[in-house]
Symmetry: C2
Subunit: 906 residues, 2 copies
């Protein structure tokens, strides 16, 4: 212990600290300043940035002994407060810089330090600053952040009025379609929004800390667990193993397709008989402090019989491979697709030009800045509450309730304010662990993953090994497609059949292909289990589709744009599932893109050198909005005594903008009531307090929950409308003896794909065209994305800040998917940087989006979703651009320099 | 546990709380907002005030279940920050509203709420607001607080510029004599100054919480302590009894006068053989959380043989009383005084007019707003550190080191930022307890007293039972005084002999009395032990002196002013100890007071009615500055690389203004260097880091430590002076190869009083005259002080804000001493309100101070101290005014309505 004196946001502090402790821990856990967030915990992400003696430092790697005596420290709390926002914070809000908001305090602190040094930075200087200080954002694609700094600098220089940073309500009173700041923005930019780990710190002092004992091998039989020594460690309340679990000790995806050879009960909460993958939880230690829990967890001894680990689907499919789940074959599900005629004849030679390609997609990690976190407690009425980053509280309630063994009506699941999940939180994991611990200790329990745990023990995007074939006639009109693919879904089957169906639904999507035969297979392996991830099956499908189509165009001697233009959806065609498309915007988007494309090709030719070759690539991205087949969502609106109106949903916000989505949709519907937008209140999802809006995944929420909000608001309008055309207020409503709350349920008439792949899986789709311009350094194989141009039809736009941000961010993840990101090597890829998260200078400052707002029949006020589509088309456009630049056709992503070099040699 | 959603300083929070938990605990312990302070803990003091839905609430009595869902909360942290002070905070600073600062956040929050409702309050409305919201200040006498609100309101109304609230450095560059804000003011008004309990909350999570097992009887033999059950309670690390203490298990006052019959080792750290007073510590429980520690402490069983408890000195002196400390008589010390001729003849009848009076002073409680608190830890170099409210870190180090049994060089004692102590922290108690616990657990340990513990287990002012006789010639010239008094010092002898000497030194002080005989006796009892308290012996002595002199004046038929005027110190006389006075300001102060006195008498006559009688009373107050006899202090000044200069002392700041005192003295001495005052840095006292400046008591620090600072600064000036008359900066000093640090030691040639009471105990004295104007409600006996007028000579004034505040605050404590405060009834007086702390409407808004700045030879730049003197003259002036009003001569204080009524009947 040492005493350290410093000045924090202008106030002197004398704190007593372990000299080896990290500054961020002292700020957060000792001083209660939770504005600085812990992301990677190892200096790679900048979420913990603070200013020390004028310099930006990452407080997660700054040991207290290195904090100079008398240091001047500034944290986000010292920059501005909700009641007194700093210019940089207002600019951040104006530009939608805070999506999930987890990186925002670190970025704003960093930007503040930049502006102290340089009030007239160029965009490049801003970007270089964030690069140098390792500020990483996973949501925004960085563009709005740079925009915000540039505006703040203008205000500081006196070239812009501070008031210009504020949102001005348009004359028509509508926020629909505007850049209305999301309701959580102020809290996010001031560091006052409490995320799970922050809430955990703010619990009463009987909170227990959980440390996991995790597998360090990928496949093994468990012969014994010895925790006698651990139990005696200081502060330990309980060591928990599978034997203590009251319920079935399994997590289930609920619905298993009939053809699935497993029963869906294969994922243990705490491993009992076997370890199925690296990181699997074997035991939990509950102790008074985190340090004590971790120290005790080190003392748990697990006796294992190590089994052969199948780290990819080739190994798991091998004839001599043992069954990972004894009794269920490693290849446990097959989905077929049959559309139109048998396709054999098109590939038999003859009149058709054909192409066949084989691609492997990566085990892309979600790389949220906020690692997974959850806590549990018992409420005064005796119910078990679990709070987490769940993006499907009602879904997850059902997925874990039997496993932990609590009566369903005695169990409440709620979503905390949370950092991005990008889909990994479609899978509950930590929820079940925390539930078990809380039930057994009867005390509040907290589990916060470190970043290695985040990487090694949450789901990942499942790799597709895809063979795809296309046949076109001589004029370039597509006649047939054949697909044949395996999905490496890791050891747990949850949604693995559904994901395989996604491959069937989206290979070839966007194109009029009359005849298709396809087969997808789900394979059990011992690598990271497959969980949802933005685009879910779409990115893998588009990779196969779009790189093959490029090759076919070349074979046909056609321009890749014109070839695609010829084949995209037009009235009269059906999509892959045999369903009539809901929008025919692709041709007009190509028309709009064409001149830009030509100019880009011209520029690339002009500026290419032997050392730096430039290229242009295209791809179409299409994805559905919904859960597949029929889908339903519920919401309510309620007039409150204080004049506010609650828009009640369980629309989980993982950065995608549930708050803005709900408020924008309600406001548009309630326009006749003339409600000021700030009078609308959103809700935090909670199975006890909010209706079942379904999970916030698959770009379904704006369509489905937005739809439910619309229905509820319409009910409110109907109930409150007075004879003179105005609307009752709360008092009048009460006086009239009417209810103050109105529910809305919205369902769409989807039809699940049948065993032949035919159906109407989604009633609303999103369509985009992506043009990538890249430079390949021929000596190294390094690829730089110079620009992305996106033509996009996501229906009518609710909130422009949200939709811009979703697409910039999604395209950035597409860049990562194409070039950098992976979770193949459990050791190397366990860190954020090691796994290839794109830093700002790996992402172009120039990502143009042109919207084509085609109203959707089934979306409220014509809106579709938007989140998934940018991750469908971006990466194949980049891969096609690489080929265009240097002739390297990379078939396995990420297209690392080594792979590009290797492909160039071919 | 419940989940509660509210908005805190504009930011939404969802917290998980025990529904029975208090809001202040959630704010401080869960949310880390330690601006709201816990004082009384039961809604009597307002230190914890926050605004909830626009209303001021005391968060210590607001249970979480009573916080409305969605409530808007505002704490001091939301009002303004160090970098962005609110107007009310600036006004607070301007007027010196924050002395110890512990009440400041609560007051400022309360004032903020007032100004939200009423931007044009009258002073009465401000006072009524603070009265209604129970905001209590123990330091300032409330006047500067009302001044601050009035100024803030002016600024809010646009009648004053905000900039007028800032301190402007005078043209001559001097802050000496100015209203320079104290350096800690910004931290105090923003709630960012961490006091002991705040620092304790900000420790790493291995901090243990101590709960005490305390005696519930006042005198007993301990037969056994059974803690088997307690040890098994959750979270308990260790239960500690006297058997575990490594050292002598005693606290000692170090110096015991030769005639003392005790050895000074009578105060146990943890009781072993006996309980000596109610509240004595018998055992300690160290547990992970406070709740756990308290729960386990309830389970400790103490087997006692109850003994007769002597709750006053009459009982303890009774011939059949047993020895409280076996082997030492209950009357264990006697101090004599012999000055001039034997006094018998003056009282034998004849030419002299004589008076005899008997008074009893109360067991006045210090009533700080901050209860006692301390923590201990081991530093990386293996030393035991204890931090507390010690106002004498070097002294206390020596007082407890043997008791706890740590090598002296392995033990560091430091003072935290602290609320007022008014002297009770001249006695270490909690320090030793925390030291023992830290040594035995090897973990950081925290002990925070609740207010009942503060009342029942810290020292109190020792009651004097005084018989005093004066003889004057027919012309009213004093000829002789005889004093005979007993001091009820409680069970512990620490400084009891010294306190008795103070009676000898200050009975009759201020008057030329040629012949004196006196005897004072120290008596051991079982009531609260005697500790230092502002004025230490002076208030008791002045009570006896000044009420008797009033009676003598009446007997002589002289006006009380003229009688005093005739007898006060003039050149040629000596003081009680036979020492030549250091200032003869009393006659000129009486001259200045005379017209005011006459006017006051006139007003009183005019406005008296049968129901409300008004009166005017006078008293002289005199007290010495120093430790008695020779005194020494040490300081250093050090030039720092950043251009600042550290003024290094262990001048403990318990609200009296050590920071301003040190900086002001250094700045005045360093004037030739032209140092901007903000470049001067003070230090927090720490036996390892700061020199031995001696304790901050007895109004000695400005004289002694100020002197040491002056000497050190003069050394710096000498070392840095260049040929051209300018001074070297840090770089030049280093380049010249000279040291950057210069020490200063200052000693004064005091001579301790000998066994006959003769000596030169103090080289500097303070002199004041106090005129009280009161109204007595004749039916109830209730007394209201309408005004106090004070003529004051405390030498040259360093900081006017500090000295004003000390005197207003001291006079307020004098009002409390006279009328309200007591700690006689252990049960009734265990709360702040129960013990009679004066609320704002019990204190006049009109307390006039007129300074007579006579330079003192032994004070730096002519300064004396100031803290003790207002508590010497205020209360006898009030008692004399009561007599003047209604003829009631109250002889035992506090002069409660019952006692006034009783005295009126006589």
């Amino acid at each position: 212990m040492i005493q350290k004196r410093f000045f924090l946001n202008g106030a002197e502090h004398n704190v007593f600290v372990d000299s080896e402790e990290k500054l961020v821990t002292v700020l957060r856990e000792q001083l209660g300043l939770t504005g600085a967030k812990v992301g990677c915990g190892e200096g790679q992400c900048g979420a913990c940035s603070v200013i020390m003696n004028g310099k930006v430092v990452r407080s997660c790697i700054t040991k207290m002994k290195r904090v100079p005596e008398g240091a001047q420290l500034m944290t986000i709390e010292g920059i501005g407060t909700p009641a007194n926002l700093a210019v940089i914070q207002k600019a951040w809000i104006k530009h939608g810089g805070a999506q999930c908001g987890y990186c925002s305090p670190g970025f704003i602190v960093s930007a503040h330090a930049l502006l102290l040094e340089n009030q007239n930075p160029t965009r490049t200087e801003v970007r270089d600053w964030f690069q140098k200080h390792k500020n990483v954002c996973r949501c925004t694609g960085y563009i709005p952040l740079v925009d915000a700094v540039m505006d703040a600098a203008k205000v500081l220089r006196g070239e812009m009025k501070e008031a210009e940073l504020d949102f001005i309500l348009p004359a028509d009173g509508r926020i629909w379609g505007s850049k209305y700041p999301r309701p959580t923005a102020v809290a996010k930019v001031t560091g006052t929004l409490d995320y799970g780990a922050d809430l955990g710190l703010k619990f009463p002092d009987d909170m227990l800390h959980i440390a996991l004992v995790q597998a360090k091998v990928s496949h093994a039989k468990i012969k014994g667990i010895d925790f006698a020594e651990a139990e005696k460690m200081p502060g330990v309340l309980k060591v928990i193993t599978h034997k203590d679990v009251v319920g079935k000790n399994r997590i289930t995806g609920l619905i298993t397709f009939p053809a699935n050879k497993g029963d869906g009960w294969d994922r243990p909460i705490l491993c009992d008989e076997k370890v199925f993958q690296y990181g699997d939880a074997i035991a939990m230690v509950c102790a008074t402090t985190r340090h004590e829990a971790l120290a005790a967890a080190e003392k748990v001894r697990v006796d294992l019989e190590v089994l052969p680990a199948y780290m990819n689907l080739v190994e798991a499919k091998a004839p001599d491979a043992i069954e990972i789940h004894p009794g269920t074959p490693n290849h446990y599900f097959t989905q077929l697709l049959e559309k139109g005629e048998d396709t054999k004849k098109y590939f038999a030679g003859g009149d058709y030009v054909t192409v066949e390609d084989f691609t492997i997609s990566s085990r892309q990690p979600h790389l949220p800045i906020e690692p997974d976190v959850a806590f549990g407690y018992y409420s005064d009425d005796g119910k078990l509450h679990i709070h987490s980053k769940s993006i499907g509280v009602h879904l997850h309630h059902a997925m874990i309730v039997e496993g932990i063994g609590v009566p369903a009506d005695q169990f409440v699941l709620a979503a905390n304010p949370m950092g991005g999940t990008f889909g990994y939180k479609f899978s509950p994991t930590i929820e079940a662990l925390v539930g078990v611990a809380t039930m057994l200790t009867k005390q509040p329990c907290l589990l916060v993953f470190d970043y290695h745990q985040q990487q090694q023990y949450t789901g990942k995007r499942s790799p597709f090994y895809t063979t795809i074939r296309f046949a076109a006639d001589k004029d370039g009109k597509l006649a047939a497609m054949e697909t044949d693919f395996d999905v490496d879904h890791g050891p747990y089957s949850e949604f693995g059949d559904l994901l395989t169906l996604r491959g069937i639904q989206f290979m070839g999507a966007g194109y009029d292909i009359p005849n298709i035969r396809g087969e997808g297979r789900t394979i059990c392996t011992n690598h990271a289990w497959g969980s949802a991830f933005r685009g879910y099956g779409g990115p893998q499908s588009c990779l196969a589709t779009e790189t093959a189509l490029d090759q076919l165009a070349e074979k046909l001697g056609m321009d890749p744009l014109e070839f695609r233009y010829k084949n995209v959806y037009r009235p009269g065609c059906t999509n892959i599932s045999g369903q009539v498309p809901d929008s025919y915007s692709l041709p007009k988007m190509f028309d709009a893109l064409r001149p830009k494309y030509k100019a880009a090709l011209e520029q690339a030719r002009k500026h290419s050198t032997d050392a730096y070759k430039k290229g242009v690539g295209l791809a179409v991205g299409v994805y559905g909005c919904g859960l597949d087949g029929p889908d339903t969502s519920e919401a309510y609106v309620e007039m409150n005594e204080d004049g506010s109106i609650t828009v009640g949903t369980a629309w989980e916000d993982h950065g995608q903008g549930a708050d803005a989505g709900a408020i924008g949709t309600a406001h548009e519907t309630l326009l006749p009531m003339k409600v000021a937008p700030e009078r609308l209140r959103f809700t935090w999802p909670d199975t006890e307090k909010t209706p079942n809006s379904g999970p916030a995944g698959g770009s379904r929420s704006q369509v489905m929950t937005g739809g439910a909000i619309r229905v509820a608001c319409e009910a409110l309008l109907a109930a409150t409308k007075k004879a003179d055309g105005t609307y009752m207020d709360y008092a009048e409503l009460k006086a009239a003896g009417k209810p103050t709350r109105y529910n809305g349920t919205y369902s769409v008439p989807g039809v699940p794909n049948n065993e032949k792949g035919v159906g109407k899986p989604f009633m609303v789709y999103m369509y985009g065209i992506y043009m990538a311009e890249v430079t390949v350094e021929t000596e190294s194989g390094k690829v730089k994305v110079d620009k992305i141009t996106n033509m996009l039809d996501v229906g009518k736009i609710n909130n422009r800040l949200v939709v811009d941000g979703q697409n910039w961010g999604g395209m950035t993840q597409g860049i990562g998917f194409a070039l950098f990101e992976d979770f193949e090597d459990i050791e190397k890829h366990k860190t954020m940087a090691g796994a290839g998260i794109p830093y700002i200078n790996q992402v172009p400052d120039d990502m143009e989006i042109h919207y084509f707002e085609e109203a959707r029949e089934f979306g409220p006020h014509g809106a579709a979703g938007t989140g998934e589509v940018p991750l469908c088309g971006t990466h194949p456009a980049i891969l096609n651009a690489i080929y265009n630049a240097c002739g390297a056709r990379v078939k396995r992503i990420p297209a690392t320099p080594e792979r590009v070099l290797e492909a160039m040699k071919k």
